[in-house]
């Protein structure tokens, strides 16, 4: 039992140490930041207390010494300089080693002694400097002043809060005069807390709708400090072309004691003029929910009732939030529990697919409706489960600050690390597996890419080099870029090395990308010497392999003398994908929906007369591949087949299939050792009837098709 608690403490301590490192690097850039010093002190204090409680006595004693030094820093005995940051980072590393039982560079006594010697020396220097200053000025020695902790400004409220109910119904022709109602909503949002309920019941089906007319209206609840005129001003230019009602209502907490509850649904509908109190009283005698009865008896529409319910919920939320204390908003969950949850959700997705198939087969409309609603719930559950696994990549980025700092110090270079898109989320497993490839790419940039300061100045560059890490979403993928402003890749040098190693024949002409990608060959390195940092050539091939194992791709770009960029494109999640289920013969396949552009009919006889396998698609000419032939599936093909047009990173083409069955959420199952190397197949999934469908890797499959076609010619 105690071991379980110790493990939980180690995890929490790991987070504290991560934050500590990050704050120390921040303090190095801004030594005067009281906020950062305070955060460092709190981390030390928490570590001291928790480690003592769980029996990590060496850690507790060591952090006690560190805490005393932090107190001096906080009280302004000295300012943090590079040496101080170095010592504290080394102390942080020592604590991490003590917690995990790993070997450490120095023991706690030795590092404590070194730290104390440093602080005593600093204090002595400062006091000597002040004595000299005082002697010059003829004044008494000044006492050291404690740091003033900056206190945040408390938010000022300019006036009492007011509550308005707004009913806004634009006239149908409002679009034709250039009015954009969404901008009015944004303007209202800037006034305060807003709850908007759209009323869509006037929107007709497609056959009847005039898409240039407005059919929407809104019920809005606004809580703001502003007076009514400020609210009316939002609609000043549209007042003549809409129905606008603005009612001022009491704030929930200012209602008299007997009304100190959230308004009842019936009261809200009466206030809005939807119905009368007598009608409400009459229906209340029936033993059903008020909302249901009002809709059944056509007293109110579904949307009017829903809108009123949302206002009620908003009132409840407003009352509760004014009383509620802010508590902990997150909790720690073991990764294994999360993985088990996702596995179960995956099984549920498979069962839902089976239910769908059964419903379609039985042609029962009631069952179909249930299956559709079930599918929606399972999708939401799936999205929720997947979102729990998603973490911002910033957690990985912050680790690299230390890597850049230590490496640049080791190599005598000056390097700034810039990051962007730290809030970009991806699957936690993907982040863990990206760590080593990214560290290697950064090391390469620092060691081989960015020049020494003197060289950079000679080249007319800033003394400090830049390594930029960025992340962004791109459809169902995330793109991570590592960019530096160093020397860039040397085309001639790489080619010469490749010829020397027999990778390419001499005298051949290769494109820039082809030459750059030679650096991914195992053991390839153009480094003149092997350093402790890099140069052994064991890194880039591992990077490519690791990224491809994640289902991603690597693209290099470089400009000689200006710098280099490496772009990693990786799927957001490894577990579940949205796909398009297709059939060829008796076999089923799944195409990732993220690459599907559309489907069109294909008539084989018409195409047979063509010598080239190309098709017209919208305004383009695209090549197509018959998957039946590629996969060697025998048997008769249907009179009318389907071409699925796909966009892969390196190909845009059509794929001929017998039948497109429909969109399909799939849980990706690995192929297993025997079939792991199958080209063009990313994984497999179990269909609702127990059959196996292969999930295609479109890019690799298209490459294989290209090769086979070249051989055939």
């Amino acid at each position: 039992m105690i071991e379980r608690f110790k493990e939980a403490f180690r995890e929490e301590a790991g987070e504290l140490l991560g934050n500590l490192e990050s704050n120390l690097l921040t303090l190095e850039k801004d030594p005067e930041s009281a906020e950062t010093i305070g955060a460092i002190f709190r981390a030390m204090h928490t570590l001291k207390g928790s480690s003592a409680m769980f029996g990590f006595d060496a850690v507790a004693a060591f952090t006690h010494e560190l805490e005393s030094i932090m107190v001096m820093l906080r009280e302004g005995a000295f300012k943090a300089d590079r040496r101080f940051i170095d010592l504290t980072l080394r102390s942080r590393d020592l604590i991490a080693a003590l917690l995990t039982g790993s070997p450490a560079e120095l023991g706690t006594d030795a590092l404590t002694a070194e730290f104390k010697s440093y602080t005593e020396g600093r204090i002595a220097e400062l006091e000597e400097a002040k004595r000299r200053e005082a002697a010059d000025a003829g004044a008494d020695t000044l006492a050291l002043q404690p740091n003033d902790v900056r206190r945040g400004d408390s938010p000022s409220v300019s006036g009492p809060l007011r509550r308005y109910r707004i009913q806004f119904a634009p006239e149908p022709g409002i679009f034709s005069n250039g009015t954009r109602p969404l901008l009015l909503m944004d303007e209202l949002r800037r006034l305060g807390d807003l709850k908007i309920s759209p009323l869509s019941d006037r929107i007709p089906p497609l056959e009847e709708i005039d898409p240039e007319k407005c059919y929407l209206a809104w019920d809005i609840e606004l809580i703001t400090e502003k007076e009514e005129n400020a609210v009316r001003d939002v609609f000043i230019f549209v007042e003549g072309v809409c129905r606008l009602v603005i009612d001022k209502l009491p704030m929930p907490e200012t209602m008299p004691a007997e009304a100190e509850r959230v308004q009842r649904l019936g009261d809200i509908l009466v206030e809005r003029g939807v119905t009368t109190p007598d009608r409400i009283a009459a229906v209340m005698t029936e033993k059903k929910k008020l909302g249901e009865i009002l809709v059944e008896e056509h007293i109110a529409t579904t949307e009017q009732v829903n809108s009123a319910l949302e206002e009620q919920a908003f009132q409840r939320q407003t009352k509760d939030s004014s009383r509620q204390e802010l508590g902990t908003s997150s909790l720690r969950v073991a990764s294994e529990k999360l993985d088990a949850l996702v596995d179960l959700v995956g099984e549920l997705v498979t069962m839902q697919a089976r239910l769908n198939q059964t419903a379609i087969g039985l042609r029962d409309p009631n069952l179909s409706t249930i299956a559709e609603q079930f599918e929606r719930l399972v999708s939401q559950l799936r999205d929720n489960a997947m979102s729990i696994r998603m973490l911002p990549i910033g957690s990985a980025f912050s680790r690299f600050r230390r890597v850049v700092r230590d490496l640049s110090a080791e190599l005598g270079k000056e390097i700034e690390l810039e990051t962007a898109g730290a809030e970009t989320e991806l699957d936690k497993t993907v982040i863990e597996r990206l760590n080593d490839p990214l560290v290697h790419l950064i090391r390469n940039s620092i060691d081989h890419g960015i020049e020494a300061p003197a060289e950079r100045v000679r080249l007319g560059k800033p003394r400090s080099g830049i390594v930029r890490l960025s992340a962004r979403h791109s459809g169902a993928n995330v793109c991570i870029e590592v960019v530096d402003d160093g020397a860039g890749l040397d085309y001639d040098k790489i080619l010469a090395k490749a010829v020397d190693r027999g990778l390419v024949p001499a005298g051949g002409s290769l494109s820039e990308q082809e030459v750059f990608h030679l650096i991914f060959a195992p053991g390839f390195s153009t480094a003149a010497k092997v350093t402790a940092v890099s140069g052994r050539g064991v890194g880039m091939d591992v990077v490519k392999r690791e990224i491809e194992a994640l289902g991603g791709s690597v693209v290099l770009a470089s400009e000689r003398g200006k710098g280099m960029s490496t772009t990693l494109k990786i799927p957001l999640t490894l577990a579940i994908i949205e796909g398009l289920l297709v059939r060829i013969g008796q076999a089923f396949y799944v195409l990732p929906l993220s690459v599907v552009d559309g489907c069109v009919e294909f008539r084989r006889e018409a195409k047979a007369r063509q010598t080239r396998r190309v098709m017209n698609y919208r305004t383009e000419i695209l090549p197509y591949v018959a998957l039946r032939e590629l996969f060697g599936i025998s048997g008769a093909f249907p009179a009318i087949e389907q071409i699925v047009v796909v966009n892969a990173p390196e190909h845009r083409l059509g794929l001929i299939v017998d039948e497109v069955i429909g969109d399909y959420q799939t849980v990706i199952k690995p192929l297993g050792r025997v079939f792991k190397g199958a080209e063009g197949v990313a994984g497999a999934t179990i269909l609702g009837d127990g059959k196996v469908a292969l999930i295609l890797d479109i890019n690799k499959m298209a490459n294989a098709a290209q090769r086979l076609e070249a051989i055939a010619r």
Partner: protein
């Protein structure tokens, strides 16, 4: 009749494209049992487009067909839906979008 028709629209969708989009939706429903709208490339949308999605959802329901939305929701598209009051601010998935339009189109069983 094809089983699925995937519609992929790119960039901003505003009232000047609304008639074209309506015709594409009508044609798609005439050609397939299920129409899937890919959201991944959508940018800013205005009310005319949002109305069309609600209308399409209603049309599908009335004709016993399916109308679904897939792909990654770009922040610009999500912002338009939040501004119109269809979604709360925060992470938005294609299923969230599909669910609100299904509800707006009058899904059976809701009060």
């Amino acid at each position: 009749m094809a089983t699925v028709k995937v519609l992929t629209w790119e960039g901003d969708q505003t009232v000047d494209k609304a008639v074209e989009r309506k015709n594409e939706l009508l044609k798609a429903f005439g050609q397939a049992h299920q129409v899937v709208v890919s959201l991944s490339l959508l940018g800013n949308v205005d009310l005319s487009f949002i109305q069309l999605l609600v209308s399409a959802s209603l049309t599908a329901r009335r004709n016993g067909k399916r109308f679904s939305m897939k792909g990654t929701v770009k922040p610009e598209f999500a912002r338009s839906l939040v501004a119109a009051g269809y979604l709360a601010a925060g992470a938005v998935s294609a299923n969230d979008v599909e669910a609100v339009f299904a509800a707006a189109g009058g899904e059976p069983g809701r009060p």
